[in-house]
């Protein structure tokens, strides 16, 4: 087995930004016949190349529009990179913010099974973890209520509980720890800290440098889709601070 959890090999991601969004067939055909289908090429990521060792907590830093979320989506397999490839060793679990991806008509309990299934876990596994998830999310009373009646805090808690209790190999956190009340925020940070012992790899995006410093031991810095620094958190954070001055 390799010592790496994720290998990002020379990844480039190109988007065709069409001038206008064409939603109807009629528009499309007219524009095509007129030869007006023009695209602006835009490279959200270019030649990004790095490796993440198992058990590392990597902070991904960069200004807005640097390509952080795109990079996470490429790593999660949602975007297929235009160039290069991503090799993953282990199961990736992205944390859903505000319950995006839950089915609102489904109850909390049903959503736990559904979301675990989406992540590729088996029913037996979820059966075992079910009580822990409910307990951690503090939703014992509301677990049979449809998600649409949940508050945003409840959805966040449920999403966080599922993603962390099922013991993923690689956990992706994109700006998620800033939601929820202070109490749950502390609890979830503590949970992530405790997961380090079980050798979980974490990719973490946040605009709060303090939080990144607290949680991560490594970091990478993106600027305009290119990797400009990678290494220990303190070094990279110093460069980032320099940039944001």
């Amino acid at each position: 087995m390799s010592n790496y959890a994720i290998e990002v090999k020379n990844v480039g991601m190109k988007f065709n930004l069409s001038q206008e969004k064409l939603d109807s067939l009629k528009e499309y055909v007219i524009k095509m016949l007129k030869g007006q289908l023009k695209y602006n090429e835009f490279w959200a990521l270019k030649n990004v190349d790095f490796k993440v060792e198992k058990g590392d907590r990597v902070g991904i830093l960069g200004l807005n529009g640097a390509g952080k979320s795109t990079l996470l989506k490429v790593i999660a397999g949602v975007f297929k990179p235009t160039e290069g490839e991503v090799v993953r060793h282990g199961r990736i679990v992205p944390l859903l913010e505000l319950g995006a991806g839950f089915d609102s008509q489904y109850t909390g309990a049903e959503n736990i099974y559904l979301y675990s299934a989406v992540l590729g876990y088996s029913k037996e596994f979820v059966d075992k973890k079910f009580d822990e998830i409910v307990k951690f999310a503090e939703l014992e009373k509301f677990i049979d209520v449809p998600i649409k009646n949940y508050s945003s805090g409840m959805k966040t808690r449920l999403g966080f509980a599922i993603a962390t209790q099922i013991e993923p190999d690689i956990l992706i956190l994109d700006e998620v720890l800033s939601v929820g009340d202070a109490k749950f925020r502390k609890k979830s940070e503590a949970k992530i800290m405790s997961m380090f012992k079980s050798n979980v790899t974490v990719l973490f995006v946040s605009h709060s440098l303090d939080q990144v410093k607290r949680i991560c031991n490594k970091a990478i810095l993106l600027e305009h889709g290119e990797l400009i620094a990678a290494g220990d958190i303190d070094e990279v954070a110093a460069i980032y601070q320099e940039k944001t001055k």
Binding site: F15, D23, S24, L25, K26, Y28, K73, A76, G77, V78, F79, K80, I92, P94, L96, A100, G101, F102, D103, Q105, Y106, E110, Y113, L114, A117, V118, L119, G120, Y121, S122, K123
Partner: protein
């Protein structure tokens, strides 16, 4: 490569089951009669169709309700199955944007859950057969052939539609119109002869769903569908072809879905 895909499929079997379950559960949630509607709905529509069209076309046929049901059930599976497959990608956009899952799972689960509902609704047909004394013969077992063709045709059409509708949402409306056309050329509530005698018989030869219905009716009414082999070969070929085209099209464009939902 092929082996790898089977591995992935195995891994997501639980998801497929969950999605099928979800489709069935949510369809009737919050209705008082729940899953009973699967039986009531075709029963009631058949009553209406019998009253309305029986007076025109079915005066001399005492088994007219069976004639209607045997087509109406198949058509409504094709219609709801393709429609729900078509919308499946957009419906699960939240998931698709976050987590990697083999995307064919979504249209496949839509067709599957509608097939389960359809299978349950066949009970109504059995009931009607008993009431109107259309007793099954050995040929009833051949009904499995049109049912398989129907499943494949719906899956194939569903894959094609789900791919195309990601890029052109207009298709959802266009398909409604197309379905109406398909319905009227399926001979659900009239006898084929009334149209064929006027020289419009060729219409039926263009409609694979009609051919499937014809074969299914033959099995129900205790006839040998292979007596006219062209009516079996044509829909079988179209069904397999639709799946092949659907899978190829879906595979080619699935990586771009994310940019359009």
């Amino acid at each position: 490569m092929f082996k790898e895909q089977i591995e992935t499929f195995k891994r997501y079997r639980f998801l497929l089951r969950e999605l099928v379950k979800k489709g069935i559960k949510l369809k009737y949630r919050r209705s008082y009669l729940g899953i009973l509607w699967t039986l009531l709905e075709p029963l009631l529509t058949t009553c209406v169709l019998t009253v309305v069209f029986g007076t025109f076309f079915g005066k001399d046929d005492k088994t007219f309700p069976v004639y209607i049901l045997s087509a109406r059930l198949l058509y409504s599976f094709f219609s709801t199955g393709t429609k729900s497959a078509m919308k499946s990608i957009r419906q699960h956009a939240g998931m698709i944007k976050k987590v990697y899952v083999p995307k064919y799972i979504y249209p496949l689960s839509s067709v599957l859950f509608n097939f389960v509902i359809f299978a349950i609704s066949l009970i109504v047909l059995i009931g009607a057969m008993l009431v109107f004394r259309v007793f099954p013969t050995i040929w009833i077992f051949t009904a499995i052939i049109p049912l398989m063709m129907l499943f494949l045709l719906t899956l194939g059409a569903g894959m094609i539609l789900s791919t195309m509708s990601v890029f052109f949402r207009d298709l959802e409306y266009l398909w409604d119109v197309a379905l109406m056309l398909i319905m009227y050329t399926c001979a659900i509530f009239y006898k084929v002869e009334t149209v064929a005698n006027k020289g419009h018989g060729w219409i039926f030869k263009l409609n694979p769903l009609y051919a499937i219905i014809k074969d299914f009716r033959a099995a129900i009414y205790g006839q040998n569908m292979f007596a006219s082999p062209a009516w079996v070969i044509m829909p079988a070929a179209v069904s397999v072809l639709s799946v092949l085209v659907g899978v190829a099209l879906f595979k080619k464009h699935q990586d771009n879905f994310i940019l359009h939902i």
